[in-house]
């Protein structure tokens, strides 16, 4: 048995995914299954006068048609996190109706559903549903929605406010800015994005009347959370009679965390009609109903003393949460954004004040990075801008302000000005490695040379930090989370020594079947093929919280680690019994327990068999080896790194070409380097996408103008260079594996590096700021304006 931890083991799951034998939700066909098509609003804001379903009901193949009236007694989908107003007033929380009855509040709001024998029949009949609307004025921008006289998204919730919120020391911050030697100020629009997992959301509701039992097949990142929300808050179903299955899922990036109304719809309606119902989003539906990401309007100011040390950071943000509150929406701009404003720097005073706002748009929630990209973007844009304004090299400015290295063991964690305590960090090391990898000094010379030839090269930095391993339950509970954020793992050792692991984490591309199997096999000294990782089925796994916030290995892996300890402890007791030795005299290595100093040993499979054939077990020793653990982390984990982008801008066309991208990340210990590299690369691609290409836009009437892949530009293979990734290792001091998480790092770090690089390229032409995405027309106009 070789060592497995730290090896780039090829993925277990790839066999099925490369042969077309994965099973995503839409691939599932149940006997007597019907198909749902949802009638959605084409208007952004309108009162519903009437819905006429008569023609649809009598159309070919139609089983039933339901409208908002049918759901009047059901409360709708709640938010999962309560953030109250500064003055203590409870957060404004309208429930998201499963089908709306009174008025539609964004394009894509669900008005009726047609359930028919075939998908085509459901779609045809949906055309026959007549909805009479009275159009209302529309507001789509958060800052506009706060103005007096703005259209009201929810009639009973004044000023479109969800809540207002602040964090940090306002007095100290104002003083720090007022007394600064230099203040850099930016108005930042962090544009709205669509996560765009390539698998559209898909659900099947299946009610079994004989057993009075509900099954939901869903493309979800966290099946137990969906079950809990559905049972406790939305439909009041008996939780022990509901099974939620989410096996192969084609990407999530946050968008498949939330409990969506369509999930409740198919399960509730399945009981009404006594047959299974499948609903799969069409892409145009995904665009207007999957929760979006980002959408912040921010003013940010950073003060510096005459030595270039930061004196204070002041942030004012209007965060657009859309028309309804998605499950995590309220914690994203607050506890995953405001709390990250320390960045990697020793900033002595920080204050953020924020308005969370309703608008006539699709709900906004976590999208890969979730709040942390917005925080990183404003800090890192301020740093490169300040460096240019003060004529200090941007790498040098960062070095002057980095928090000095601390490992969290010999040196304490770093207490920030914004509530968090960083676990461990070595920010300068990541910066130095990134500078060396990119060849910084040579690159600056090359830039000089290029400028002489009229070519505009730019170099941009981003030194990010994030809070992952979400999350310590006590902490998030005090911050308004309505759930604990532990993770579970059950390990069942089978009599033949094979091992089944039931994890509460959920893989939708992360490769848990491989990484977790490496962890277990390495620990038990058994071959990887003897380990099966099971996830995504509430009937099989212990209550689990699922995957988001780069938490699977840090929290879910730690739960596995705890269960492994218990397995080894019990195994040792059985081995000691079989060997007639004392547990203290046994060593466990290479999959066997050996009596120290002898060649007497018992292998893992022998012990496993004995556990289930306990013919002569001593009194008090239970048969079997099976252990469950719930792991609740002591703190968040804090991955960090420095990213450097090199771009060339064509001043005649405004085209920004990404030439190189170097990412040096520190995600703590690593189990599978190949998978970590892949996560970082994929993350960087999404971060670059935001910088250069992606933007979700509404027009004045609230129409979604970027609702297809022809209008919403995402990175394609020829938009990106090869992304150069490498890692430093500063272990996390507070979890058993020393891991921090790698899922979001790339996305968080990449975006400001690219924008900073483009601005750096164009500084000789007088450009000092650019708004994302850096489309050629936008960049070209900025050049024209700067030179005018």
């Amino acid at each position: 048995m070789g060592k497995l931890i730290g090896e780039s083991v090829k993925r277990v799951e790839d066999r099925r995914f490369t042969t077309g034998t994965g099973q995503y939700t839409d691939d599932i066909v149940l006997p007597r299954m019907t198909h749902a098509h949802i009638v959605r609003s084409h208007l952004a804001h309108a009162r519903i006068r009437s819905v006429n379903t008569a023609a649809a009901k009598s159309a070919d193949g139609v089983v039933t048609v339901l409208t908002g009236e049918d759901f009047k007694d059901i409360g709708g989908v709640p938010c999962g996190w309560q953030v109250d107003f500064k003055d203590g007033t409870t957060m404004h929380e309208p429930k998201h109706p499963i089908l709306v009855a009174d008025k539609v509040r964004h394009v894509g709001d669900a008005v009726a559903v047609v359930i028919a024998e075939t998908k085509g029949q459901a779609r045809d009949a949906a055309e026959l549903v007549e909805v009479d609307y009275e159009e209302l004025p529309v507001v789509t921008d958060a800052t506009e929605a706060l103005k007096a006289g703005a259209p009201q998204v929810h009639d009973d919730l004044p000023n479109n406010m969800v809540f207002d919120w602040e964090l940090g020391d306002q007095g100290a911050t104002d003083t720090g800015i007022a007394n600064a030697h230099h203040v850099t100020k930016l108005e930042i629009r962090n544009q709205r994005l669509v996560p765009n997992a390539i698998e559209p959301r898909s659900y099947i509701g299946d009610y079994d009347a004989a057993r009075d039992f509900y099954t939901l097949y869903t493309s979800s990142q966290n099946p137990h959370v969906i079950r809990l929300l559905m049972c406790a808050f939305v439909l009041e179903l008996p939780e022990h009679k509901v099974r939620v299955v989410s096996r192969d899922v084609g990407g999530g990036f946050g968008s498949k965390i939330y409990h969506y109304t369509e999930e409740a719809l198919v399960i509730w309606a399945s009981k009404q009609i006594g047959r299974p119902i499948k609903w799969t989003a069409e892409r145009s539906e995904s665009f207007v109903t999957d929760a979006h990401g980002r959408d912040h309007n921010t003013t940010a100011e950073m003060g510096f003393d005459d030595a270039g040390k930061i004196t204070a950071l002041r942030v004012r943000t209007d965060a657009n949460l859309g028309a309804y509150l998605s499950t995590f929406s309220t914690c994203i701009p607050t506890y995953l954004h405001g709390t990250l404003l320390q960045g990697q720097y020793t900033t002595p005073a920080i204050h953020i004040s924020l308005n969370a706002v309703f608008t006539n748009t699709t709900a906004v929630d976590a999208y890969r990075g979730a709040g942390r990209p917005e925080a990183t973007y404003l800090i890192e844009r301020l740093m490169d801008t300040a460096a240019a304004e003060m004529n200090i090299d941007p790498a040098e400015l960062r070095k002057r302000n980095f928090i000095p290295p601390f490992d969290g063991v010999n040196q304490p964690g770093y207490q920030t000005q914004v509530a968090l305590q960083y676990d461990s960090g070595n920010y300068i090391a990541a910066m130095e490695k990134a500078l060396e990898t990119i060849g910084y000094q040579d690159l600056r010379r090359e830039q000089e040379e290029a400028r002489k030839q009229g070519r505009y090269l730019g170099i941009g930095f981003s030194s990010y930090i994030e809070a992952c391993g979400i999350a310590p339950s006590a902490v998030v509970g005090s911050l308004g989370a309505r759930a604990g954020l532990f993770e579970s793992a059950n390990i069942r050792v089978q009599p033949t020594g094979k091992v089944s692991v039931y994890t509460g984490s959920h893989s939708h591309g992360q490769g848990h079947e491989t990484t977790f199997a490496q962890l277990v096999a390495d620990n038990l000294g058994i071959p990887m093929e003897n380990v099966e990782i099971v996830h995504g089925d509430t009937e099989q796994i212990p209550f689990g919280m699922g995957t988001y916030g780069s938490r699977s290995l840090a929290v879910g892996g730690s739960a596995i680690s705890r269960s492994l300890d218990k397995v080894k402890e019990k195994g040792a007791k059985i081995a000691a019994h079989l060997l007639e030795a004392s547990v203290d005299d046994l060593d466990f290595a290479d999959g066997k327990w050996t009596v120290r100093g002898t060649d007497k040993s018992k292998a893992f499979d022998e012990v496993s068999l004995a556990a289930y054939v306990p013919h002569n077990f001593p009194e008090g020793m239970e048969p079997g080896i099976e252990f469950n653990s719930f792991y609740d982390p002591a703190n968040f984990t804090y991955p960090f790194g420095t990213h450097i982008a090199v771009v060339e801008v064509d001043p005649d066309t405004g085209t920004v070409t990404l030439q190189r991208f170097v990412a040096v990340d520190d995600v703590g210990n690593i189990i599978n380097p190949m998978i970590v590299d892949g996560q970082i690369q994929g993350g960087v691609a999404q971060g670059v996408g935001q910088a250069l290409l992606e933007s979700a836009n509404y027009d004045e009437s609230g129409q979604f103008s970027t609702g297809t892949y022809m209008d919403y530009a995402m990175p394609r293979a020829d938009d990106l260079p090869s992304i150069e990734v490498s890692q430093n290792v500063t272990p996390c001091p507070h979890n058993p594996l020393g891991v921090k998480g790698c899922g979001e790092a790339g996305t968080i770090g990449a975006t400001p590096a690219v924008v900073n690089a483009a601005i750096d390229a164009l500084r000789p032409l007088g450009v000092t700021d650019l708004e994302m995405p850096l489309s050629p027309p936008r960049v070209w106009s900025a050049i024209q304006q700067a030179s005018a």
């Binding site: 066999r15 490369t18 084609g250 990407g251 069409e282 892409r283 960087v684 691609a685 892949y709 992304i723």
Partner: protein, 152 residues
């Protein structure tokens, strides 16, 4: 209407509605769910298959247009349980994460390698620009295709 087509070496005759897309026919009628649907504008490439030797997006064709066609889907690429070198390449080089784009990526790569057995980095990126992958950032997909080219 009746259509007959050969899919992965077996002949199938079915009654289909004239508006049925080829991808729906494969998924819903022939139960070949390895071919995926990621969009409704022929933009994502998740549905890419090989029809009469050409890689095509199967959401752009009607089933009835493919009467008599010879079709290979992802399920038909491995022979006798041995993965095709492109499938091996994706696994070797970690060219996939969630796997949803993968069947389409592999079929599009198949077409590229048929025409150009030794493509450059740029040629691979260009050939795959009709296929979205939201997970990988494409780097490892390029390496996977190169691996397949070297090991075919």
């Amino acid at each position: 209407m009746q259509v007959t087509m050969t899919v992965n070496g077996a002949s199938f005759t079915s009654d289909v509605e004239s508006r049925t897309l080829l991808v729906q026919h494969l998924r819903d009628n022939l139960n070949l769910t390895g071919t995926h649907v990621g969009c409704d504008t022929s933009s994502c490439g998740a549905c890419t298959i090989v029809v009469n030797g050409e890689a095509v997006k199967s959401c752009t064709l009607l089933a009835v247009q493919c009467n008599g066609a010879e079709i290979t889907t992802i399920e038909g690429l491995a022979s006798n349980n041995a993965l095709h070198p492109i499938q091996e390449g994706f696994r070797e080089k970690h060219g996939l994460q969630c796997g949803f784009c993968t069947p389409g990526m592999i079929m599009a790569s198949w077409q590229l390698l048929e025409r150009n057995p030794n493509p450059s980095d740029g040629e691979i990126r260009h050939a795959l620009e009709g296929n979205f992958c939201r997970c990988t950032g494409y780097d490892n997909i390029v390496k996977a295709v190169q691996w397949a080219a070297q090991n075919s």
